[in-house]
């Protein structure tokens, strides 16, 4: 399990990264944390001719926030997001999701951008990006574009990123009201890829009615998926257990799960609903209890 040969380039700026990408064309791959890419190279499932290392590109690391969004630069390590008080304060669902991402050792290397670009349909961070309508900021060195997360993921391991583009940052919109969030997944062992996962974030008005809802599930379709029918069903209503339960079942009609080694399509379809219910219940409890931190 040794990687096929390649040329290695150590980039120090985004400009340099983009120049190398355009020089080497489709045979080039960016390496950030390498936690997904290197196993694929070891198994020779991918054989990049050139590897462009962005670990030393300082401008690709960092966490900032404005009134509107939390911006995490692409090569920011998951372990740094985990301990960021900015993230804890402004976008706590990211921490709830990170709890399920691999293990502390893989989070010590793994990056947000790496997880986004790898586009595993069961990955947690892409799920949160879809949930919150995050924006993926990409550049080819001259033009910087913004791709909505809901349009970024096209298929398993396939994104809208063009070969000459690299991800610069992801912007997660902030919610300012009386909000709460929840994240649930089922996996065979702690730290495994999710068989199915669900994330929810809601906002209540002073009367306890749901005025904003975002629901997404992962591991059950080719990409992480927003479940609009559930969101629609919850709006303007007080969120009783029954209402949550009834709405959660709508996930089954939106998703399109597959059979694989770990679970059947039927399992994923039904468990996705259960996980949505649990995530919504947590989100509601958090928002209603005033402990909501998804501000």
């Amino acid at each position: 399990m040794k990687a096929a040969d390649f040329d290695y380039f150590n980039a120090t700026s985004v400009t340099e990264v983009c120049r190398m990408l355009s020089q080497h064309g489709a045979g080039a791959r960016i390496i950030a944390g390498g936690q997904s890419l290197v196993p694929m190279m070891a198994m020779r499932l991918t054989k990049p001719a050139a590897l462009i290392d962005i670990n030393n590109v300082a401008e690709l690391r960092g966490i900032e926030h404005s009134d509107r969004y939390l911006e995490i630069r692409a090569a920011t390590r998951q372990c740094d997001i985990e301990v960021s008080s900015t993230v804890r304060t402004h976008c706590p669902i990211l921490l709830k999701a990170l709890h399920f991402v691999g293990h502390s050792q893989t989070r010590n290397r793994g990056t947000l951008g790496g997880s986004m670009v790898h586009a595993d349909p069961s990955a947690e961070l892409p799920l949160v990006s879809v949930l919150l309508d995050a924006e993926v900021m990409v550049t080819d060195g001259s033009t910087t574009d913004t791709i909505p997360a809901t349009e970024f993921f096209l298929a398993p391991m396939v994104t809208a990123l063009m070969p000459e583009q690299c991800v610069v940052a992801v912007r997660f919109p902030l919610w300012h009201g009386r909000a709460g969030s929840g994240f649930h997944e089922v996996s065979p062992r702690v730290g495994d890829f999710a068989i199915a996962s669900a994330a929810a974030q809601i906002e209540l008005d002073d009367a306890g009615r749901c005025i904003r809802a975002a629901i997404a599930v992962g591991g059950t379709s080719a990409t992480p998926l927003r479940i609009a029918p559930i969101e629609a069903a919850l709006i303007s209503k007080p969120l009783s257990d029954d209402a949550i339960s009834a709405a959660a079942t709508l996930a089954a009609e939106t998703i399109d799960p597959d059979n694989d080694l770990h679970a059947s399509a039927e399992y994923r379809r039904r468990v996705a609903c259960i996980l949505v219910e649990r995530a919504l219940t947590d989100a509601h409890r958090e928002a209603a209890g005033g402990t909501g931190t998804a501000r």
């Binding site: 040329d7 390496i31 290197v38 290392d53 050792q105």
Partner: protein, 169 residues
Amino acid sequence: MSHHEITLRVNGTSRTAVVPARMTLVDFLRDELRLTGTHVGCEHGICGACTVQFDGKPIRSCLMFAVQAQGHDITTVEGLSGAEGALSALQEAFCENHALQCGYCTPGMLVAAQALLDACPDPSDDAIRDALSANICRCTGYVQIIEAVRLAATRLRARSGTDKEVGGG
């Protein structure tokens, strides 16, 4: 295809070498530096036998290329012992509790556990489990490992007087 000269610190000593781009960090440590205490178990990042500390944080050395370690600080199991081979508190606790059998996963387990103790002198059992969840042991069933980490933490706290300070607050 490309070769690169790298300089890095390994267990406190500066090392320079020319490596092919595709050589993994674990192969570099084992085959070039002959630091064979770090082991290879799966080469796809699951088993944890190759765990080393990278700038103080435990990582999989099979999921990095040696060239990426340029300028960084690596600690392997060989770097855990004290002067003249004196065992660290954690190594002592592993021996005392028989927290191993075949010894193959042990170096990775120790490197990961040491990073935990460095960051968190009084870890809960949950914290110990989280810190070691990426290191698979097929021999022990982990129970004696958790006991050993607990024992080492207690001893280290006693040694540094942390217990007293904590007790006062």
